[in-house]
Symmetry: C3
Subunit: 317 residues, 3 copies
């Protein structure tokens, strides 16, 4: 970086925040999704949360990512409380949530072990609870949070069909599924799964090579990308890959006009041909603004592969 | 276990031993299958073998699992000799056997190396030999014992079709096949493969995650499960995973009413949504009786995942 | 080997060098393919190259394997120069070349990193350049050299369709693709991919077990096999697997009548049921002649598995 560097990217008035379908008959989501799994760490009053929510909606980030288990089963209700302060906001949002994990938690003291439950009864109950927490009549997209080795695909398909028909859930998808697991469930459904929310980022490139993203591109299903920034690894000097990737991101950031590391990382993920929807984890509106500003950012092939090379620690073969 | 523990599970008069189809157009097998691969280690006279056979048939375990190579090519004929003592038993049995392995054996002194042969000529000859050994006109189910890198799927399919039409083999399946191998052979067949007999058990959980069981559930093919008890590993104190799993099985066994470790292991496998048919390896009728008694045993989700957690050495993610 | 050993194999007048289709609607190639990636290491004049080319064509090896990047982008043009000495040869040849890699090279000093580019613009330009280098109006078969994580399958399919219709490229295939990558691209094409050129040989048996060859057999696509001899590993005494495989090849070679190690290796690969087309890497005509002479060589099952056992360091399970 130097004095002559162009100003950091700022949002433009292009329509790059228009909603995009995640699959041929999938829901239309905003190209960036605001994650709320750390909402309770933001230490805000409901009014302050509302300000943040309205601010990112204003920026075009209208899709919010949740799960029943976030904050040990507390986040959905906290978010619902915020939404209740201005109920008209609901129409502007696409709410994504997840179910299927049974966490060890003080709320369920009889539970002895973390496990999964994808039986119809649990899915129905979990989704009813989510509807109550959000104080809404419908969820835009519900994902099976984790592949469950006990998943009966017929039973899951039946409950998905039923809940779509009832209007309570508009779309269903999965998260962290392998191609075989997604293929199994898809084989029982009359509609295309809306997404597979998986870990994708310069510090998590496995899905680019293990068939996960190939399958999604083939089925024309866009993934949602979690952990784009790899948790804290990008800034952990003990993490060799983290250091290498940070250096590569910094170099590209400078070339692209003094933009931010996270802007480059989001752009890197969005250039994948399966067209992932990245999830933002930060609660700071300037981070959201920066990510939105980077929606038009395009790395050239060499910049993109420089980051991949850093991730893999070697040039491509 | 304590004095107040309920009595060990015993067979009930429910119809839980009714035959079940292994695939939409597959054979109907008993929910538990008696394996005969260690038959010669039981050190019995033919009359004693007959007693054991009649006893497990009486208990509803009417399917027997064989392979041409068991006992270094001797078991099928030994079993046929037993069956000849009471030929009317044949109608009550479903005989499963396997072919395709060429073992080093004194019977074939010219053979220099263990290998596979899935050519039509060998499959035909092997199946004719099995029919002769069992002194029967038909085999209920014949499996390719191992995936053969030289398998010509067209040639195998042709011989399978021919032998079904002749009535000599009623159904065909495979054993130890990957999803790609099964998919290849299936693509050439006008009927669904009846099963994939694979290693499944609390000490062998790979097939739950590598796509093997996902594919079978998708195709509605039930696996047969070999090595449910993991050979001796469950009782090997040097084996850390074995110790962990044994402890978990013991805890569940006690919760379920002082039942046996192997009963819990069979129930654990049978709860998989691909609905495996476990193979029993013991020649002791009380072990068979115990396994039959456990057919109604159902673990709850936490018990099931406690065993998986022990198998994997960590909670599910 | 001993004095009584039969003479080394020599070409016969059988028609074993007739062209074979690589896929149902694929190109007809010669059963052995002459690789030119080391052409510049042969240190020959154009006239000498022409002699070699005519000699292997005379032997029935009429398919030549190239890539834009071989010899750091120089081989195609060198070959074209040779071909220009006797233009009528073109009709007798099947030219295979590849595109999609962007190599670090003095010819492109602005390039900073090795990367891939499978965008339409690059593929079109690369293929036009290849046509110019070879001084020909058509390429028989063009392969995507490496799977590109940025591959947009729709865009690639569109340019493949366009270039086939123009007559500039008669067939398209891929190289080093996983089953998921090939499946994705195939899903967008109205024709079957002609081949997947992958590493196959006694020192590279991964594709026999990871689904690559299963998929190709299923789709009736024949692979092309590169590195059949494993580079120098077969003669590297430091390489334990190399030593084991060499010993096994030597034993089979002697049994088969004092033939050569490479003859056995080519026969071993050609016996795979996906029917690979091996690529020859040597520029010595006697090596080509030996490989052609071995086209009728057939290992028996034990010989074939002895080599696999040496490759894997253990008997098959």
């Amino acid at each position: 970086m130097n004095d002559q560097a162009p100003a950091p990217l700022e949002p433009t008035d292009s329509d790059h925040t228009a909603l995009l379908p995640t699959a041929p008959d999938g829901p239309a989501l905003s190209p960036l999704v605001q994650g709320y799994w750390r909402m309770d760490a933001w230490e805000r009053t409901p009014a302050e949360h509302l300000d943040f929510l309205k601010a990112h909606v204003e920026l075009g980030v209208t899709t919010v990512d949740h799960a029943d288990v976030y904050g040990r089963y507390t986040i959905e209700a906290q978010f619902g409380e915020v939404l209740a302060l201005e109920p008209s906001l609901r129409q502007k949002l696409q709410i994504v949530t997840k179910c299927g994990i049974q966490l060890l938690t003080p709320q369920a003291p009889e539970r002895r072990i973390k496990h999964y439950d994808t039986r119809a009864r649990h899915l129905r109950a979990s989704i009813e609870a989510s509807l109550g927490h959000f104080r809404t009549d419908w969820l835009d997209l519900v994902l099976l949070h984790r592949p469950d080795p006990l998943m009966d695909a017929d039973e899951v398909a039946e409950v998905m069909i039923e809940l779509r028909q009832s209007g309570k859930v508009r779309h269903f998808g999965v998260s962290n599924f392998t191609p075989a697991q997604l293929g199994l469930l898809q084989s029982r459904l009359p509609f295309t799964l809306a997404t597979n929310q998986v870990e994708i980022g310069p510090l998590n490139v496995a899905s680019l090579f293990d068939g996960t993203l190939d399958q999604l591109q083939q089925l024309r299903i866009c993934p949602m990308a979690w952990s784009v920034l790899g948790g804290g690894r990008l800034f952990d000097d003990e993490d060799e890959t983290g250091r290498r990737v940070r250096t590569a991101l910094e170099a590209v950031a400078e070339e692209l006009g003094d933009c931010r590391l996270d802007q480059v990382a989001f752009a890197w993920v969005r250039q994948l041909p399966s067209r992932p929807f990245p999830i933002l984890g930060s609660g700071r509106i300037e981070r959201v603004r920066a990510a939105v500003a980077a929606l038009d950012l395009v790395l050239d092939r060499e910049q993109w592969f420089a980051i991949l090379q850093a991730a893999q620690g070697r040039p491509v073969p």
